[in-house]
Amino acid sequence: MKICNGFVTNSSSTSYVISSAKGLTRDSFIAAMGVSEDSLLIDIFNDLYKSIHSSVKLVPEGVNIREYLVTRIEFIDENDLLEIEKRYNSGEKVYWGELADSGDSGGATEAFYSHESVVVINDDIYFNAKSSVY
């Protein structure tokens, strides 16, 4: 639990989608972000993973992924949808969730990423987080 001492105004959130061939783990996520364990920023990415881990939902198998995502999150970019669709249909596990600027589980890091738009693509993980309010 992260402690927020102040008020967070202009509530904002970032919806994210993650697709992974091998499943989402802390190590695979950290590697996808390009962080080494002795990095200056390792704590930030640990907190980001913690936020994701606490909010992530798995997309069930056998659904129409496009309809599933469009009805749940503000995820309207057609190119992003095509990429996710391709990965889901090839058997990858797809997850989704939201990062909020209240930072309930990831503190300042979650609040920071709730205002950021990030796309990470590597061999194992596709991570797409786009802020819905900026």
């Binding site: 992260k2 001492n5 390009g34 920023l41 704590d43």
Partner: protein
């Protein structure tokens, strides 16, 4: 080299940075241009923080020297009276400042926008230790020189 921050209405978007003239060695060690996985999110964030700490801000020593040295006898009285710096912060800075360092004022929001200041804010987020972590990296690199 050391970073300080200040509580402004329960929030912090201001950094005071003691930066030596010849900071390239420290910069290259703490923010190597070839961080693991260049082009990654880690590298993107490192670059933003590096830019903030080394390419932004106002040199308060120069401001004092050129504009206020006639008005105030000392740099400390300039900071206290002209910049409204509190005695506690002023004392911390005076104790930490080395002769080769100059004091820089950085407004994170002005330079990079609201979002990056969130990452440095340890008043809203009491367990946020990014500044302490960067400072410990700076100290480690500085000590390598001794």
């Amino acid at each position: 080299m050391k970073i300080f921050t200040v509580n402004t209405n329960g929030y912090s978007s201001i950094l005071y940075v003691l930066r030596p003239d010849n900071y390239e060695r420290i910069r290259n060690k703490v923010f190597p241009s070839t961080v693991t996985g260049a082009g990654t999110e880690n590298a993107r964030l490192m670059t933003r923080i590096d830019n903030l700490l080394f390419n932004s801000g106002i040199n308060l020593n120069k401001e004092y020297e050129y504009l206020y040295s006639q008005e105030y006898d000392t740099f400390e009285s300039f900071l206290e009276n002209e910049k409204g710096m509190g005695k506690h912060l002023l004392n911390d800075i005076v104790l930490a400042k080395k002769d080769i360092e100059e004091l820089w004022y950085i407004n994170i929001s002005d330079f990079d926008g609201y979002t990056l200041s969130t990452l440095f804010d340890k008043y809203t987020w009491s367990d946020n230790d990014l500044i302490e972590r960067i400072n410990s990296f700076f100290e480690e690199v500085s000590n390598e020189n001794m």
